[in-house]
C-alpha cells in the first residue's frame, strides 16, 4: 500500500506554517511534493480536493477504544475506522481497558492491534497499577515502548502524595502525566452537573468544584515538582481560568476540552436519556462559553474527543445505572467548525499539530511538506450534513448529536500514503 502514489489535487494546504494553494504528491508513504499544478502521470491515483482544505491528519489525545475487554461496544479496528472518517490519522488510546494498560504486555497488545488499524494508535499508560491510585505503574517500562502520556483517566489520582511522586518520577522519562480532574469524595454518587437542573430533576450532582479542586491541586504540584501536567477534558469556567493563569506564570501545563463541553449543557438531562450522561458532566451555558473562550485564546491547547462507545443495552438503562460517555471521533471536527466560530487554521491547530506535540507523535501534525510522512486529511469546510447514528462507523451508536445539522466534513483521509477514507467513506 505504501508503494502507491497519489496526488491530492486542487485544495488549499493549511498547516502550522500557513496557507497556500497547492497539490500534494505522495509516494511510498511520504509526501514528495507540495506545489501547484502537479502532473499526476499514469497509474497515479488522484484525490479531488477542490474547494477543500488539505491539512495534517487530526490527532486525538483522548479516545476509549474499548479493546481489550469492551469489544461489544468498540474495537481498535472499528474505532480507527470512525477516527479515519473523522479526519484523524492518530489517536491516543486511554488505558481504562480490561485489563488496563498498566503493563508492557497490555500496551504491546493494543499497539499491535493498532498496526492494522485505519489510523495510528498510540497508547496512554496508567499512572498507577490497576488505575487504583495506590502504587505507581511501571512507567519506565511503558515509556520504553514509546508511551508518552500517562493517566488514570476515568478517575483522577486522589492521593496527593502519590501524585507528587508520580510527577517527580516522570521527570526522568520525558513523559507527561495527564489528569482526569475530579475529587472523588466531593463527586461521590454524582450523576450530572450539580445545579439548577440536577436540583429540578432530583439527581445527585457533581459540583464544578469537584473538578476545580484537582486542577488547583495539580497546578500546585506542577509548581512543586517542575513536571508537566496535561489536563484532560476541562469542563468548567473555573478550571479554564486556573489553567490560563498557570500558563501566564510559565508553568508547564497543557489542557484539552471535548466537543460536548462546548456544544451541550446540563439542560439536556431533562430528557433523562443517558446518551447525555458523560463524565465530566455537561455543565452550564457559562461553562460552555468559558471553554469556547479558552479554545480561542490558547488557555486550552487541544480539542480531544473523549470518544467513549457504549452498547445500546448499556445506554438503555436508567440514567443512574448507565455508564458515562459518548461517541466523538466522527463528529468532533464538524462540531468545532460549526460551533466555535474560529478560522479553520485555528481549529486545525487545536485538533492536529498542538495535540500531536502534546502526545509526542512526531509523524503527525504536519507540516505538509516534502519528506514528511503522508498523514493528511482533506476537509470540505462547506459540506452540510446531518448526524445519523446508524451511519457511523463506530460499533456503538451513543452519539448525542443524532439529527444535528453540521457544516464541514472530512472528504478524504490519507494514512502514510494510503487513502483510508475517500469521499467520506472508509476504504477498508
Amino acid at each position: 500500500m505504501n508503494g502507491h502514489a497519489l496526488v491530492i489535487r486542487g485544495g488549499e494546504v493549511v498547516d502550522h506554517r500557513g496557507r497556500r494553494v497547492a497539490d500534494v504528491a505522495v509516494r511510498a508513504g511520504t509526501i514528495t511534493a507540495v506545489e501547484p499544478g502537479i502532473d499526476a502521470g499514469p497509474g497515479v491515483r488522484v484525490l479531488d480536493a477542490s474547494g477543500c482544505v488539505v491539512a495534517p491528519g487530526l490527532v486525538d489525545l483522548h479516545a476509549h477504544l474499548r479493546e481489550p475487554g469492551g469489544e461489544a461496544a468498540e474495537t481498535v479496528e472499528t474505532a480507527s475506522r470512525a477516527a479515519a472518517r473523522g479526519g484523524y490519522t492518530a489517536v491516543v488510546a486511554m488505558p481504562n481497558t480490561d485489563p488496563p494498560i498498566d503493563s508492557a504486555a497490555v500496551a504491546r497488545q493494543v499497539l499491535e492491534l493498532g498496526r492494522h488499524a485505519l489510523c495510528d494508535v498510540g497508547v496512554a499508560g496508567a499512572i498507577t497499577v490497576g488505575r487504583k491510585g495506590e502504587q505507581l505503574a511501571p512507567m519506565a517500562e511503558l515509556a520504553d515502548l514509546g508511551v508518552r502520556l500517562f493517566t488514570d483517566d476515568g478517575s483522577g489520582v486522589q492521593d496527593t502524595r502519590l501524585m507528587r511522586r508520580a510527577l517527580q518520577y516522570s521527570l526522568a522519562l520525558g513523559i507527561t502525566l495527564a489528569q482526569h480532574c475530579e475529587d472523588a469524595s466531593l463527586a461521590a454518587g454524582g450523576q450530572m452537573h450539580e445545579g439548577t437542573w440536577s436540583s429540578k430533576l432530583g439527581m445527585p450532582g457533581i459540583p464544578a468544584e469537584a473538578e476545580e479542586l484537582m486542577v488547583m491541586r495539580d497546578i500546585a504540584l506542577v509548581r512543586l515538582t517542575g513536571a508537566p501536567v496535561h489536563f484532560l477534558h476541562l469542563s468548567t469556567a473555573g478550571s479554564v481560568a486556573m489553567v490560563r493563569a498557570a500558563k501566564d506564570q510559565g508553568l508547564p501545563v497543557t489542557a484539552e476540552a471535548a466537543p460536548h463541553h462546548f456544544t451541550l449543557t446540563h439542560a439536556e438531562a431533562e430528557s433523562f436519556d443517558p446518551v447525555y450522561k458523560v463524565n465530566p458532566p455537561l455543565r452550564t451555558d457559562d461553562d460552555v462559553a468559558a471553554v469556547k473562550r479558552g479554545l480561542a485564546d490558547g488557555a486550552i491547547d487541544a480539542i480531544a474527543t473523549d470518544h467513549a462507545p457504549h452498547t445500546q443495552e448499556a445506554k438503555e438503562a436508567p440514567w443512574d445505572e448507565a455508564p458515562p460517555g459518548m461517541l466523538g471521533l466522527e463528529t468532533a471536527l464538524s462540531l468545532a467548525l460549526t460551533e466555535l466560530g474560529l478560522p479553520i487554521d485555528a481549529v486545525l491547530a487545536l485538533m492536529s499539530w498542538q495535540p500531536a506535540r502534546i502526545a509526542g507523535l512526531i509523524e503527525h501534525g504536519g507540516p505538509v511538506a516534502p519528506g514528511r510522512p503522508a498523514n493528511v486529511t482533506v476537509i470540505d469546510p462547506a459540506e452540510r450534513w446531518t448526524v445519523q447514528p446508524e451511519r457511523l462507523a463506530s460499533r456503538a451508536r451513543n452519539t448525542p448529536y443524532a439529527g444535528r445539522p453540521l457544516v464541514g466534513r472530512v472528504r478524504h483521509t490519507v494514512l502514510r500514503g494510503e487513502a483510508v477514507v475517500v469521499g467520506g467513506e472508509a476504504q477498508r
Binding site: T196, K200, G205
Partner: protein, 313 residues
Amino acid sequence: MKHLLSVQDLGAEGVHEVMRLTDSFVEVSGRAIPRVPALRGKTVVSLFYEDSTRTRLSFETAAKRLSADTMTFSVSSSSVNKGESLRDTVETIEAMGIDAVVVRHKSSGVPWRIASWVNASVINAGDGWHQHPTQALLDCYTIRSRKGDLGGLRIAIVGDVMHSRVARSDVDAFAALGAEVLLVAPPTLLPASLEGWPVKITHSLDEVIGGLDVIYLLRIQRERMTEALLPSLREYRAVYGLTADRLRALRRDALVMHPGPMNRGVEIDAEAAEDERSVITAQVSNGVAVRMAVLYLLLGSGADLVAPPAGDQ
C-alpha cells in the same frame, strides 16, 4: 393527555380537573359495591422496581374499582433479576397487550424513558428523588376537602426536600393552586439550587409554625446521618420535628400531613400523628379516589363515569 409523569404535565387546570373527578370517585368509594365499569376491558400493569406496598395497593384498588384488569410485575420475582434490561422488560410487558403501566423506580426519569418506548399510557408512581404526581394530587385533594381551596394558604414542607420526590411534586401542585409554599429544612437537606422554584426558604420551624395553614412533614431516612447531612436523628427532631411541644404552637385549624411511612419520634411525634389536626389517614383513603380519577382521565372514554356496573357481581 396520554401520560401522567409529573405535576407539570397537568398544569393548574389539569389538577383542578382531577380534583373534580375525584369528588365523583369518593362518592363511588362510599357505595356498598364501590365499583363502576368505566375501564372494563382495560388492562393496567403495576411495574414496581422499588418496594411500595401502599402505593401499589392504592393503584390496584383504584383500577379494580374502575373494573380494569390488573397485573402486577414485581421485580423480586421477575426476569429483571436474571439481567433483563429495563427496555426489554417493558417491551415484553407491553406485548401482552396493556393499556397503562404504573411505574415506580428508584432512579429519577425512568417513567420518561418508558414513555418513549411504549404505546401504553405511563403513570409515574414515584421516580427517584424526582416526582410523585399522584401523591401531590391526593395531598391537594386532602387539603381542598378540609379548606375548600388552596389559594392563599401558607403551606410548609418540612425536612428532607433534597431527596424527596413528594416535595418536588407538592411544590409544583401547591403553587399551581395558589398556595404560598415554604420549605423548612437544614441547608444540607435542600437541593443545591432552588432557582425558579416557587418557594420561600427558612431554616427555622419555630419562626414560622404559628402562621401555617398546613405543615407537611417529610420522612427522614437513617442513611442521611452516614452521608454527613445531619449530626443525629435526635438533633433533627429537636430542631425540625413536629414534637408535642411544637404542636401547641400550631394553629387550631391547621392541618398536619405526612406521605408515610412515618418515623414516629423523629420527624413527627405520636401525639402529632394522632392529633385531631392530623389528616394523614385521610391522605391514604383519598389516594384511591385520586388514582381512580387519574386512571379514568388517561384511559376512560368519557362515558360510564359513575354508573354501577350492570349485571356485575
